[in-house]
């Protein structure tokens, strides 16, 4: 029993590091994922993963295959996209996800154009984005720091964020702090996402941020509890996905995201709130009464 569930992590350092990375990511993914879902920005992660391309391309042209330069430049362009989208939605009537889509598409096209113009066929994205099995010491430190910073920032601006998520109009009418909270939130999101892309890969990062957050909403109503449940689900998916990858021989990123997907489907079917089963039960109760 212990052999099956625990020995892989004792025997192999890469399994330990992968697990620790999943736990670090899980801690931050609860609150960030839930807030993104509540603000109807569930696809922000995917948008950010495309928005890094021009930065990565420029970094590559300037400094060659340097991880740090490419990573930093990627972070800057992703940030630019997120901040521009957020500013546009603050000052116009456009919704934030629409402006995000507009800016990330521009960034993506720009990135492809830059890469192609220089004739290099190097698959930048493949090189820029990491794999959960290849996490090394510095990579682990990067993910852990990004997630810790994200948690601290979120703790500070939590109230303003919640107000903004439930009632954007209220924030728009009352004071500046709400707007600032919004910008700061987007910066934090970009920081954590880009850090996780570079060490763990896009699919894995976006999957562990968004799937548990959507799944947790089928179980509890209270926002704090939803965040905690989402974090626990993310860590559990990481652990179980790694075990599946180890014992069955599936690639780790997909194995972890599929585990999170199974948890989501179970929640969708049988969660306590708003799931298909819960709706059916409620209908029946109404009919019988």
């Amino acid at each position: 029993m212990i052999d099956f569930f625990w020995m892989p992590f004792v025997e192999f350092g890469f399994m330990q590091r992968a697990l620790v990375a999943c736990i670090a990511l899980g801690l931050a993914s609860g609150p960030i994922g839930v807030l993104l879902v509540m603000r109807r920005m569930s696809l922000a992660g995917d948008a950010i993963s495309h928005a890094v391309l021009p930065g990565a391309a420029i970094g590559y042209l300037v400094a060659g295959m340097s991880f740090w330069v490419m990573g930093l430049a990627a972070f800057i362009t992703a940030m630019l996209v997120a901040v521009l989208a957020s500013v546009v939605s603050t000052y116009t009537s456009q919704r934030e996800d629409a402006s995000m889509a507009a800016f990330y598409l521009i960034a993506l096209a720009l990135g492809v154009a830059i890469i192609s113009a220089h004739g290099s066929n190097v698959d930048l994205i493949h090189l820029l984005f990491g794999s959960v099995l290849a996490v090394d010491g510095p990579g682990l430190l990067l993910v852990a720091s990004a997630c810790s910073i994200a948690l601290i920032v979120l703790a500070v601006i939590w109230r303003a964020l919640l107000a903004g998520s439930f009632d954007p109009l209220f924030v728009a009418l009352h004071g500046r702090s709400g707007k600032w909270a919004n910008q700061l939130f987007m910066v934090t999101v970009v920081l954590t996402f880009v850090a996780c892309f570079q060490t763990l890969g896009t699919l894995m990062a976006v999957g562990l941020f968004m799937l548990p957050a959507t799944a947790a909403r089928f179980w509890v109503r209270d926002i704090t509890r939803t965040c905690i449940l989402a974090s626990v689900m993310a860590m559990l998916s990481g652990y179980m996905g790694l075990l599946v990858s180890y014992h069955v021989g599936l690639p780790s990123g997909p194995a972890i995201v599929l585990t999170a997907g199974v948890i989501y489907l179970l929640s969708l079917l049988a969660g306590k709130r708003d799931s298909l089963l819960a709706q059916k039960l409620r209908v029946r109760r109404h009919k019988s009464s």
């Binding site: 892989p8 025997e11 192999f12 350092g13 890469f14 399994m15 992968a18 192609s116 004739g119 290099s120 066929n121 190097v122 698959d123 493949h126 090189l127 990491g130 794999s131 099995l133 290849a134 996490v135 090394d136 790694l242 990858s245 180890y246 014992h247 069955v248 021989g249 599936l250 690639p251 780790s252 990123g253 997909p254 194995a255």
Partner: protein, 317 residues
């Protein structure tokens, strides 16, 4: 110098006599489009000044994930000859050729080679005899290993196929083309014999190493060594935790002594394995692409020798 000038003068005179249009067509080199850099180099070696070669996938690029540009289609459209590897290596080629409207001959360089089967485990040396998979161009279906150029004996067949195609297009230059092909094949034979004798002196228990992409099955088969891939089959595939754990155990048990990073796949997974198990890095191996012009592996023969030399050094350490 003088002779050359005299020859040119005669040619000029001839062209004036026989009509300029005809001569201009004859002086034009054959436009050849090769699917990737290794084939392009072979065509250059055989064709010499009779050919102008365009390589669709350039040096240091991955042929498994190729995105053609309009320039590529343009080059194809005005080409006289297209050279591909075949064996399902260029899954994207068929559609590109159709889209460009190219109507000329397509040479499958690997026609007639003895193919190897790709094995999941890659520990035995069985070889299925799946000859001539001309129509086998839609991705890596089936289990035939397409990287046949990693065996110098196959490379000779490649050269012969290219030679025959060029001769057919320029019968009047037959002598030159055949002569170049002949000396190229001789070079290959000499290198092959030299490497064979060096590989044969390695003791049986030191014949295993790890590679990051399963492209060296033919090389391993040719010199009777065992190269175990991490990713396996194509660079598009991701390794699983089980794969990596298996490799680390192999190295820890002392069965494998060296690992190699290719010129284009992700080195990070291998670096993790190495730092966890203490295997020695053997350096870069070139599988599907030459290195940039002017660097260590910018021709097929140089590439082959660099690869073999690195493997020899690592196994002898």
């Amino acid at each position: 110098m003088f002779q050359c000038l005299a020859k040119q003068f005669c040619a000029l005179l001839l062209s004036v006599l026989t009509g300029a249009a005809f001569a201009a067509q004859d002086d034009q080199p054959i436009d050849v489009v090769a699917s990737f850099s290794i084939l392009a180099d072979m065509v250059k070696q055989v064709g010499g000044s009779d050919v102008r070669v365009y390589s669709l996938v350039g040096p240091d690029s991955d042929s498994h994930v190729f995105n053609p540009t309009p320039n590529d289609a343009k080059a194809l459209a005005k080409a006289d000859l297209v050279v591909i590897n075949g064996l399902g290596f260029e899954g994207w080629m068929k559609r590109l050729v159709q889209a460009s409207g190219f109507k000329g001959p397509v040479v499958v360089a690997s026609a007639g080679v003895e193919t190897l089967e790709q094995e999941e485990d890659h520990h035995g040396h069985d070889h299925g005899k799946d000859h001539d998979k001309h129509d086998h161009d839609d991705g890596h279906e089936g289990k035939v290993d397409p990287h046949a150029w990693q065996d110098l004996r196959n490379a000779r067949i490649y050269v012969a196929n290219i030679r025959d195609a060029l001769v057919k297009l320029r019968p009047e230059n037959r002598d030159m083309i055949e002569q170049r092909a002949q000396s190229y094949i001789q070079e290959m034979e000499m290198l092959d014999a030299k490497l064979r004798s060096e590989f044969s002196s390695i003791p049986a228990e030191r014949r295993k190493a790890i590679v990051s992409h399963d492209a060296f099955g033919y090389l391993a088969h040719a010199y009777d060594i065992d190269l175990i891939p991490v990713q396996g089959w194509t660079t598009g595939r991701e390794a699983s935790a089980a794969d990596i754990a298996k490799l680390i155990r192999l190295i820890r048990d002392g069965k494998v002594h060296a690992y190699f990073v290719e010129n284009m796949s992700d080195p990070r997974v291998l670096q993790r394995i190495a730092s966890e198990s203490g295997a020695l890095p053997g350096g870069k191996l070139y599988s599907d692409a030459l290195s940039a012009p002017g660097t260590e592996a910018d021709t097929y023969l140089k590439m082959y020798e660099v690869n073999a030399r690195r493997i020899l050094d690592a196994l002898n350490k």
